[in-house]
Symmetry: C2
Subunit: 364 residues, 2 copies
């Protein structure tokens, strides 16, 4: 497995040109690029440019509308439902978060449920938009069904991530950004490439038996909810995933549960949809709606300091503050560039050729 | 282990008389009773009258104020911080939720962070207050430090529950009400009484090693976050618990992390508090702030029907809808009475004698 180091700027230029070829406006292409590159910068390699050709394939199948008319279809002073018009989630979700932030500026908080959208990249991007305004940011999305609820042998839920982000004082923001499955699909892909077994508690086979095979999903198996089994609280992971599904899709009128259209273009969406596209849920609350912002930040700094300095089991492993590793990646990669795995570079070069844009890098 | 069956009304009358003896007003005693009895009705025996003598001991130590002046200390149209004046959380949290609901009625949503409170009973009670108004209810609280973050050998977080409740149509509400630890303390107590080992992944000993001893917490051990270990996502359970702590306490000005005062009266609160009392976070969002209520309920009914009818691994184990077992308990116990374990009945009789109220039941 080889990595090729690419500067942030080069990756941005390339990604922008692909979105432009899809027919996105300058503004949308810039925004979608920003979301994807943020993921690569933050070390979440599975959700960055590695997915670019996946978005393109959905566009080729006309399942992504490059020129969506994203609009509010229902609202109160602090709530709204947005119709994403089948646009890129990378564009639709920031649009919705902007509305949440504007409502929070006026009324203290703002909440937007989104239907008729597509994959929105990393949840953290959207939540951090609120943090920049000294607000608490919340973002969630439902996703293609891969996870079996407790006791089920069927995949009925996505890895449905939820993110909560908080502005700190002297420290970077606290960002809890997590799939509600025990392990997300990206971890299985790493084991597949390395030809290694996975730990028990990540997946079950099609009969619901525990499996250590990273390819189990291809044979009808399922990911397990956070908690892995009933004894260890899988009903809680299932409950969290259900919460994301209901807030994102039942509340907005998107597809939910097993009806969520797949991200991969080679699988067709269900022919009996219960809603439109996939759903997101975005929220923003002004910190100073509760107490002076500086007081909150000072206390959060005390919280962080205490946790960073906790006694640990292994002296080499410190307690990690949620969001801290991603922040460290971002600082480092902005300076030193982003290592992209060679298979992704090849994939992007094939994409470049197909769409007639300059290759990311010439490889031989 | 014997159970004594007691009618709901008898348990209410008894509990009310105890709160009255503490000096609570009629209104507060009625409300606090309602929260506790709701827990017993819903089968969450650990959070009902089993805790009554614990509240009394905190009152005896002057750590619970029976006549609090609960008030808003900071607000915007949709956010507020409430000072609980060291009152019973059983009274303070419903006060705060009422504010959240009133704000939601006017502006679509309402969010209240609470400081200077005490244990608030089951999270589900408060969230369900919103559901009765066709709103989505959210409730959380921090709690005495018993849980070690990933990699830590120290207890820095409570079992910090979060609850999301949604109104359905023909089905009972969906109520996700969960501790963010792998297993809550109540499960350890059951194993202690039965003199049985507990599964791996629930607790670690004081050195951070996995333990199957249900008494480990008494020797400096810790509960583990949902996910149990890093491989299975314990950093996610830790992140969720951190989220609850920040929303409940860093946002309100309550104590957080290891500074949260203990529920048990024999342990003194930290002498270097970082805030006031314990903290809660309550929220309400009008369903019709997003789409017509009936559309939401119809879709949630489709969701529930699909999940209830999922293929299961074991034909004897159906997929459970969050909140369904508690609803079934409530219907059954309202008719047939509430089975109270004999040690709790004895404890309540001792309490009755001490405070000079009529005993719950005469035992010999």
């Amino acid at each position: 497995m080889n990595f090729i180091n690419i500067t942030e700027q080069k990756l941005r230029t390339f990604t922008y040109s692909i979105f432009k070829r899809m027919g996105c406006s300058d503004e949308h292409a810039t925004l979608a690029t920003d979301v994807l590159i943020k993921s690569d910068l933050r070390g979440i390699d599975s959700h960055g440019v590695a997915r670019l050709s996946g978005y393109v394939r959905l566009w080729e199948k006309k399942r992504i509308n490059p020129t969506p008319n994203v609009k509010i279809v229902h609202e109160t002073p602090t709530t709204a439902t947005v119709d994403g018009d089948a646009g890129l989630g990378l564009v639709v979700a920031p649009f919705a978060m902007k509305i949440a932030i504007e409502k929070a500026e006026k009324y203290g908080s703002g909440w937007v449920s989104v239907k008729n959208s597509n994959h929105f990249g990393i949840a953290g991007y959207h939540a951090l938009m609120a943090v920049e305004k000294d607000m608490i940011g919340i973002s969630m999305t439902n996703a293609s069904p891969l996870v079996a609820p407790t006791f089920s042998s069927e995949r009925l839920l996505g890895t449905n991530p939820m993110c909560y982000a908080f502005p700190a004082g002297k420290y970077p923001p606290v960002v809890v950004d997590m799939a509600t499955a025990a392990a997300a699909n990206g971890k299985l892909e790493i084991a597949q490439r390395a030809n290694e077994n996975i730990p028990s508690g990540w997946v079950q086979n099609r009969n619901g038996e525990n499996s250590n095979n990273p390819n189990e999903l291809k044979s009808g198996g399922s990911l397990l909810p956070l908690g892995s089994d009933k004894d260890h609280g899988s009903h809680k992971g299932y409950g969290l995933s259900a919460t994301v599904d209901i807030l994102s899709a039942v509340l907005s009128g998107a597809n939910f549960g097993p009806w969520v259209p797949p991200f991969v273009a080679f699988l067709e969406p269900p022919t009996d949809p219960v809603g439109e596209g996939i759903g997101h849920f975005l929220g923003a609350m002004r910190v100073d709606g509760f107490r002076p912002t500086q007081d909150f930040k000072d206390n959060l700094d005390i919280w962080i300091t205490r946790f960073k300095n906790a006694e640990t089991i292994d002296p080499d492993k410190k307690v990690i503050i949620p969001g801290e590793p991603e922040y460290a990646f971002e600082r480092e990669r902005k300076i030193n560039g982003i290592p992209i795995i060679d298979v992704v570079v090849n994939d992007l070069n094939v994409l470049a050729e197909k769409l007639g844009v300059e290759k990311l890098i010439n490889q031989n």
